[in-house]
């Protein structure tokens, strides 16, 4: 087997109104973060179904992060409040099953927080990289 440098694969779900714009701002300001982070645009963080997160892990993601507007700033007034409850419950459950808690995260990033977006992604990627490959929640068949 060929030894390759381990690079974590990170899926970031970003809400269209705040965090996706925050990611754009990070780009505008040329703030670096690892290319391992791939962003999926959703209208609101409350669109993120736990099934999407599990699916990402199944297909080989090493970490999943969900970014939304700060509580109280949701474009749809209350979406991120639901996200907060759902993800609190889900993450607690994943932890209960013994999945490393550092693999999942929710972060509130506003459209003005390009720097926070980049810093969050750097930090998250670093934490996930430290955990190594996601063995506990991964479908081995799908791995090449």
């Amino acid at each position: 087997m060929q030894m390759k440098e381990y690079k974590p694969l990170i899926v970031a779900f970003c809400c269209n109104w705040c965090s996706y714009a925050g990611a754009d701002l990070a780009g505008n300001n040329r703030l670096n973060y690892p290319a391992d982070v791939k962003i999926i645009r959703v209208p609101c963080s409350c669109r993120v179904n736990p099934m999407f997160i599990l699916r990402a892990f199944q297909k080989g993601a090493d970490g999943v992060i969900i970014c939304g507007c700060h509580p109280g700033d949701c474009h749809y007034t209350s979406g991120n409040y639901y996200t907060r409850r759902r993800m609190a419950a889900l993450f607690s459950m994943l932890d209960f099953l013994g999945i490393e808690r550092e693999r999942t995260r929710v972060e509130w990033v506003s459209a003005a927080e390009g720097a926070k977006f980049a810093a969050t992604m750097n930090d998250f990627a670093e934490k996930v990289a430290a955990l190594g490959e996601n063995k506990r929640l991964e479908d081995l068949r799908c791995k090449k």
């Binding site: 199944q58 409850r85 459950m93 932890d95």
Partner: protein, 331 residues
């Protein structure tokens, strides 16, 4: 031993059937074995007198049956509800799953149901006859004299940790109503929480790897009343009917627990029917325990129309990152 006798229930059912209040009765009858009591629909006095059963093995929760039965039956249905069943009954009403007008609910007290596996552990295999009286008399093909067992010694886990002897819904109550009990039902969850993540992972790998995806847990669950389950729906993107690997088992059970979170009344049917004895109720209880701790006490089904924690919020809720810092968990 149950306080209410089988005769009392038959008498009540016959009376309601004969005076036209109801047109059929949802009750229990003997299955292949004496301990294998199954749900049944009775339409005549004769059927009731010959086949109706009520004893320490009448475990089935009838609430879910009302969905299909009320849609089919012309008149009202008489249903017997143990205290824990009434919670599922209310939860289904909250979700508008059946017409309350078409049901005549009779609440009956329950002293807890027996766990056949515990009996087998005492008497061994080959049980040919069980009689429920003061004590449970178990005869096997290997012994002449029946073994007498105290029902208290073989209570099912969910009955040991019974959350409530109080009926939260009924048209009529036979016997006396009890109280909500401060049970130790979350102790097992807390024990797991106190383990290290590695220990927890090992525990669940061991349990979930036994899953054969028979779907019994889903089919019996009074909260799983979807017209079509996402796991059966090719359009959902997560369709899988049999597990191809351990991940899909986990995914199934996590998603199922998430889908019933806030709706699960903790009736324990999932673990009861699991042929592999996977303690599935622990997943549901974990959600219930978490939500109680994070968002305040909530019991699904305690009242009709209540708003479950996951379809509610406050602006002061804790952050998902904070859930791990709570309690006595390892850092």
């Amino acid at each position: 031993m149950q306080k209410i006798t089988c005769e009392q229930l038959i008498e009540k059912a016959v009376a309601l059937l004969n005076d036209g209040t109801v047109s059929c009765v949802l009750g229990w009858k003997k299955g292949e074995f004496d301990y294998d009591i199954t749900p049944a629909l009775f339409e005549t006095e004769e059927e009731l007198k010959n086949e109706f059963v009520w004893n320490d093995f009448c475990r089935a929760n009838f609430s879910k049956y009302l969905i299909s039965k009320t849609a089919k039956c012309e008149g009202k249905i008489l249903v017997f509800l143990k205290p824990c069943d009434t919670y599922s009954f209310n939860q289904l009403l909250t979700e508008h799953r059946f017409d309350r007008e078409k049901v005549y609910a009779v609440g009956i007290p329950c002293e807890g149901m027996a766990d056949i596996d515990k009996i087998k552990a005492i008497c061994g295999d080959g049980i040919c006859k069980i009689e429920c009286g003061e004590k449970i008399a178990v005869s096997t093909i290997y012994t002449d004299e029946p073994t007498l067992i105290d029902a208290k010694d073989v209570l099912a886990e969910r009955c040991i940790n019974c959350k409530s002897k109080k009926h939260v819904a009924y048209d009529e109550l036979i016997g006396e109503d009890g109280d909500v009990i401060d049970s130790g039902r979350f102790d097992e969850v807390a024990k797991l929480e106190a383990m290290t993540p590695d220990e927890r992972f090992a525990f669940w790998q061991n349990e979930l790897s036994r899953c054969i995806r028979c779907n019994a847990c889903r089919d019996v669950c009074p909260a799983c009343t979807c017209e079509k389950c996402v796991f059966n729906n090719p359009k959902s993107g997560v369709e899988n009917k049999s597990p191809a690997n351990s991940f899909e088992e986990q995914m199934f059970h996590i998603i199922r627990a998430f889908h019933v979170a806030g709706r699960c009344t903790d009736c324990g049917e999932c673990s009861r029917v699991c042929p592999q004895n996977i303690p599935l109720h622990l997943l549901n209880r974990k959600f219930i325990k978490d939500m109680n701790e994070f968002y305040g006490e909530y019991q699904a089904g305690a009242e009709v129309g209540s708003r479950a924690p996951l379809v509610n919020y406050t602006t002061e809720d804790l952050e998902p990152g904070e859930v791990f810092d709570r309690g006595n968990k390892d850092a």
